[in-house]
Structure formats: C-alpha cells, structure tokens
Amino acid sequence: MQCPKCRAPMQTYNRNGVQIEQCNGCRGIFLDYGELEALTRLESQWAQQVPPAAPPAAPAPAPAPQAYPAPQQPAWGAPHPGHGHHGHYRQKSFGRMLFSS
C-alpha cells in the first residue's frame, strides 16, 4: 500500500504475530483496526514475564511465569507486576484479608 502521508510505498512487517505497515519514505507506521490493542496486549504480557528484580546470578531459576498466559484484567486493574504488591502473602494484612468478609 501507499503511505497516506508521503505517498511512498509501505512495507509489511510482522511483529509477534501483528502485521504492521511501515512507510519506506517517512518511516511512519500504519495500524489496522485492532492492531494497536493487540500490540498493547503483547506489551503487557511481556511486562508480566519480566520477573520483578530477579537476582542477577540466581543459580536455579524459579518455575517460569511464562507458563501462564497473561490474564485479562479490568481497565482499572493495577499494573502487574509494577506495583509489587501481589503474591505477597508474607504481608500479614493480605493474609488476614484472604480469610475475612
């Protein structure tokens, strides 16, 4: 296809299963319907797979979090794992919360 901005030809690239068109002239990128969302999803999955502050030279890696697909969550959900709260049962307060109304 032709770039809508500079009219130069656009080339198709595949990024993690998402087709994106890039202009050979101005380097602008064209996304089809739903592709931006697909990329955003991939980005959040990728972010989730990065272990938060893993020790640089851990001898035996823990079971890979990649074994789980990234779960969907609401628009108001906390950034996982950025906040670093989750899974922290050692926090007494959350331990109690799990068992109360």
Binding site: A70, A75, A78, H83, H85, H86, S93, M97, L98
Partner: protein
C-alpha cells in the same frame, strides 16, 4: 478473651455434643473459632455450634439451612448436623460437623482450583430443585453495610471521598438498591478462604461453609472477591488464573465460555473492592492508624475506577 455469647455457646455446644448430663471425656477443651458481631462459633470435638447475628431473619436462615441439608448440594456445601434448633439470648444457634479449614499460615497452599469447582457446581444447581423459597444472596447488602460502617467511623474526608466516588459509580443493584439483572442462580454470597473446610477432617474433600449470605443472585459475585484482589494487584496473576481457569473448566455458568470474563466480573469486582476498602478505612479510622500498603492498594483501585465507567455486560454473555 471471649464474649459472654462465646462462653454461653461453649456450654451449648458441650451439651449438644455430649448430651446434657454426660461426663465429658474429650481430650481437648472447646475452642472459640470466631467471636464477632455477625457470628460466634465454638467447636467441641467433632461438633461446631454457631450463634448467628442477632438480626438474622428466622425464615431466611431456615431456608438457607434447608439448602445446605439438601441432597442436591451434597459434596458442595457442608450439611448441618441433625440436632434440635437452639437459641441463646435471642440468637439462633445451628450445629455443624467440624471440618479442617485452610491453613491461615499457609495461604500459598489455598485450594483455588477446588474452590472454583465448588462454586461452579453451586451455581449450576437447578433452582427449581431447591426446597422452599430462597432469599436473595446478601453480597450487595454486605457491600452497602461496609460503606455505612466506614461512614459511621468518621474517616478522613479525602480517603472517604475516594471510596464514595467508586461506590456511587456502581449500578443500583450492586449497591443493594434493586435486584440483579440476568438470571438468578444459587450463590454463596461471601466467598473467601475462610469459607472452605475439608470434611471429614482432616483429609476429606473440600466443601463450602457458612450459608448466612447464601441465596439467589448474580453468580459472578462469588468470583468477585478474588477478582478484586487480583485487580488491586494483591493476588498474583498465577493464582487468579488457577481460580478463574478452574471455574471455566468446570463449566461454571457465571462467565462466558472462551471469552474475556471481565465484562461480567467488572461490576461485582468493583463492589467487592469498595467493600474491602471501606472496611479497611473503617478499621484504620477506629484504631487511629494509617492505612497499610495492602489497604492503600485497594484505595488506589477505587481511585482508578473513577476514570473508567463500569462495563455493561452484553446480554449474550450471561
């Protein structure tokens, strides 16, 4: 330190477990398992007695007990013991077999899969098969009670405003102001990890306990507390996936098959987030302390909700 109710209930459970005149030869003394305004629970050996909240509706509790005792719920709900009804200072007392609870010191071993499968079976129970006329599930009512409790403690204005904003954005049914849309199903009404026991103790299958809030309503409510913990960033994605994945695998009817569950979870999960945040604010205010990190995570979730209007589930999703 136990309340007078707990002490009186201890005598009641002794009598129920051994008969009024029997000499007790139990190795262990009765234990107070819970002692709160909304229920006092005492265990004596294999027998557990619960004194329900003073304002418990008699007819509704009877209907809920009948469901727990009904064969359709065998293997899902713990059935009450067949002992004569008792009363203590105007509080109704029910008797149950003892079961082994989830170890509160090892929540990482929580039976998320089993909990989800039990809920799927509970929700799939044909309502026509159940005895009597069932009351409404009390989930939304409890959310409203939590907000009312927060208001009574007189919390800092800025903190209360965050909770109130999230609360007022909820549709009326989620605030217990009207009935839930969609087909009503049998719901537990107050799911958390304290609502599961193994019976027979200690290695029997997991069962759901505590029918005080059980009734007809939106089954997504029963999934919404773990959903709220996950959305607040407290529950790890792995655990949330184990729970919601097992529910879907067991063909639980609250969420659509092979599709994003959040359109149906959104409103109940918001409500449970508000409820939990409101209780946290109430407790912190009463104790004159700051909110801790976990409580702040819930308040943050309330704050984020304000900028995103609640999702309206498509009719087809139900």
């Amino acid at each position: 330190m136990s309340s007078s109710v707990a002490r009186a209930l201890t005598a009641t459970v002794r009598a129920a477990a051994h008969g009024p005149h029997a000499e007790c030869t139990c190795p262990a003394r009765p234990t107070v398992l819970a002692d709160r305004d909304d229920g006092t629970v005492v265990r004596d050996g294999a027998t557990v007695a619960k004194a329900h909240a003073p304002d418990t509706d008699r007819t509704e509790l009877a209907a809920r007990l009948a469901v727990a005792a009904h064969p359709a719920l065998a293997g899902v709900l713990l059935a009450p013991l067949d002992l004569p009804a008792a009363e203590l200072d105007g509080r109704q007392v029910t008797f149950w077999p003892h079961g082994t609870p989830v170890d509160a010191d090892a929540p990482q071993e929580a039976p998320w899969e089993e909990a989800a499968a039990l809920l799927a079976r509970l929700h799939a129970t044909p309502v026509e098969a159940l005895p009597g006329s069932l009351p409404a599930m009390r989930g939304p009512h409890k959310a409203a009670l939590a907000v009312a409790r927060m208001r009574r403690t007189g919390p800092p204005e800025q903190v209360a405003a965050v909770v109130e904003r999230a609360w007022s954005a909820l549709p009326p049914w989620a605030r217990a102001e009207s009935t839930a849309p969609g087909p009503a199903r049998l719901c537990h009404g107050d799911l958390h990890l304290g609502q599961l026991v193994r019976h027979p103790a200690p290695h029997g299958p997991w069962l759901l306990i505590d029918v005080d809030d059980l009734g007809l309503g939106d089954p997504a409510w029963d999934l919404a507390r773990p959903a709220a913990w996950f959305a607040a960033g407290l529950l790890a994605p792995e655990e949330w996936l184990r729970f919601i994945g097992s529910y879907a695998a067991a063909a639980g009817p609250a969420v659509p098959l092979d599709a994003d569950p959040w359109p149906v979870l959104d409103v109940p999960a918001r409500a449970l987030t508000v409820q939990t945040a409101a209780l946290a604010v109430a407790k912190a205010t009463a104790a004159r302390r700051e909110l801790d990190e976990v409580e702040l995570a819930l308040l943050d979730a309330c704050d984020r909700m304000a900028s995103v209007p609640p999702q309206l589930p498509a009719e087809a999703a139900k």
